[in-house]
Symmetry: C2
Subunit: 344 residues, 2 copies
């Protein structure tokens, strides 16, 4: 299994990317890497080239570049070259911590959609904080599309199911529709239509509507939503968690000696809480619905997250998740055509 | 100033409602109350009837009742009678902790919309956790409408501005549009249209798009959004805050002696954090855009929240907020008609 890596994307690239890839190479003997970047910058960082081939890329798509134009014009960039390697079968997956829009565009335009899938969905893994069975859930779409149609959300459910089976090893994942109430008739006309379509698909373990209040309590294993609401919900969860940790730390620092001693004794507790909220441990965001895994991590990605994300990609490749989706949508062309006509 | 109160709505009604109204009566000598409920249940709870008139209501709209039908059929319910008192000018505002849908329906159908306002917006106050200038912001619509049009969101900005001026005493509130990125061209076509319309309204201090990640950091004083996204965002913030506090408590309880001593020393810190997150201190959710204040609190409301909410209603009445909105929309009929035609 070979992974094409953009060595130049991310705030700490190429140093932390190269370091992470070497960690992953050491951890997973069944993986090979194509590392795309500027040789004069990447070569000196590589300690050991075992199973890592450095491929020269003369251009870099910057964080501020307009995604579609950058992918079209910077033909010799690390992102375009790595995605092209996947398209041409020289690699099995594509990883980057660079410009999100450019990675999604390269995935869509170069790697390409699975036949029958209308829109790929960006998929994130988040923690379930309920003890003792602490686990995780996935949510999609968290922002690949600002303009989602009900039909797309129904397809996300199928994609999320295969993903949860493949990476989270949940045999029969519970699928929930993010809505403004749990009753079947909640939401606008679109959400009622999506709910009814999902309820009729026997192959899905659809548990009905879920509210964003219950996500971290494990209301579902796979939460499907349109890209706009998913993006707002994901960022509200992130922002609230960060603000609360900051608030607690601020309160401790401004407290008296008692507070500081208390803080010292509570250090392991905070460590566990931060670890639970740190969902980079689960890897990156996956653009599901493409012919091969395309995975993106935060711009602030460092080596351990690179390694975890490569582990996640390895699971996707080992279970042949993309091919399973290809087969599913091949076998359900009539059903999908009918759904598309009904739902729009 | 006279407030019509539904004594029967809420999990702890009528006891905690009556207790809260007595607290509010003692705190605000300029307020009078009409208290609607079943006399045999409410009368024994009233210690002192100074400025509180008990008005008999033979019916109660239950939490599980279908809102529109209940408001239409239960003519002698505490919710319908209290809203009718406002409509007929016998009271200046309506408060309830009961069935949310029924309160919103009674507000809309009985109290009535301000002329020129298309849809009322449910408005919540949330804390800004950034120190040292800890404050608050308001967000609307958080769920009165599942199907919001761009024109409605533009009107929410005007309504939110008057509300922030009236209750938060912010002279020139910063107004932000909840979107999936801060750049002006972010979001779908609807959000770009809303952004451009808000940017052109000179009377608004529009600060552009804000992301849900930055809300608790004080990105804006007034955050406007469609009711579906607002509902998902609000519930994600609530759920994350609750889950994190539970997680921290669980970690402490399962820790060793050190953790428990630390927890004891950190008690004041946690107390401050919980107080900061407890937005019931800011009162209830207001259905803005009606001819008089209609305010709803959580079903779990107890006496102190009732008292705080009455204080919030008093501010709305003292500043004549509803009348200011009436005047604004009276003076801007042409502009609103044009916006409605352009935005849909």
């Amino acid at each position: 299994m070979k992974i094409a890596v953009d060595a130049m994307g991310g705030d700490y690239a190429p140093a932390e990317i190269v370091k992470g890839i070497e960690l992953a190479r050491d951890a997973y003997p069944d993986l090979d890497f194509l590392l795309y970047g500027k040789p004069d910058q990447v070569q000196p960082l590589l300690h050991d080239t075992t199973r890592i081939e450095l491929v020269p890329a003369s251009e870099v798509i910057e964080m501020g570049d307009e995604p579609v134009r950058a992918v079209r014009r910077k033909k010799d960039s690390s992102i375009v070259l790595a995605a092209t390697a996947v398209r041409e079968g020289r690699a099995d997956a594509f990883f980057s911590a660079g410009n999100t829009g450019a990675v999604l565009t390269a995935g869509l335009l170069i790697v390409g959609r699975i036949k029958g899938i209308d829109r790929p969905g960006l998929t994130t893994t988040l923690p379930v904080l309920r003890k003792p069975d602490q686990s995780s859930f996935v949510m999609l779409d968290v922002g690949a599309n600002a303009d989602t149609k009900p039909f797309n959300v129904v397809q996300y459910a199928v994609m999320g199911q295969y993903y949860a089976q493949s990476v989270m090893h949940v045999a029969n994942p519970r699928i929930g529709l993010l809505n403004n109430g749990t009753e079947a008739d909640k939401g606008d006309q679109n959400h009622r239509a999506i709910h009814d379509a999902l309820a009729q698909m026997d192959e899905l373990n659809f548990v009905g509507n879920v509210e964003s209040r219950e996500l971290l309590n494990g209301a579902a294993d796979v939460v499907v939503t349109d890209g706009f609401t998913g993006n707002a919900t994901l960022k509200a969860i992130e922002g609230t968690a960060l603000s609360m940790l900051k608030l607690i730390k601020g309160e401790i620092m401004s407290g008296g000696l008692g507070g500081k001693i208390g803080a010292g004794l509570l250090k392991p507790v905070f460590h566990n809480v931060q670890a639970a909220m740190d969902y980079s441990q689960y890897g990156g965001a996956v653009l599901l619905g493409l012919k091969a895994p395309v995975v993106k991590t935060h711009g602030s990605t460092k080596a351990p997250t690179v390694k975890n994300t490569i582990g996640q990609i390895r699971e996707l490749l080992k279970t042949n998740s993309a091919q399973q989706l290809v087969t599913y949508f091949d076998q359900h062309t009539d059903q999908m055509a009918e759904l598309k006509a009904t739902l729009k």
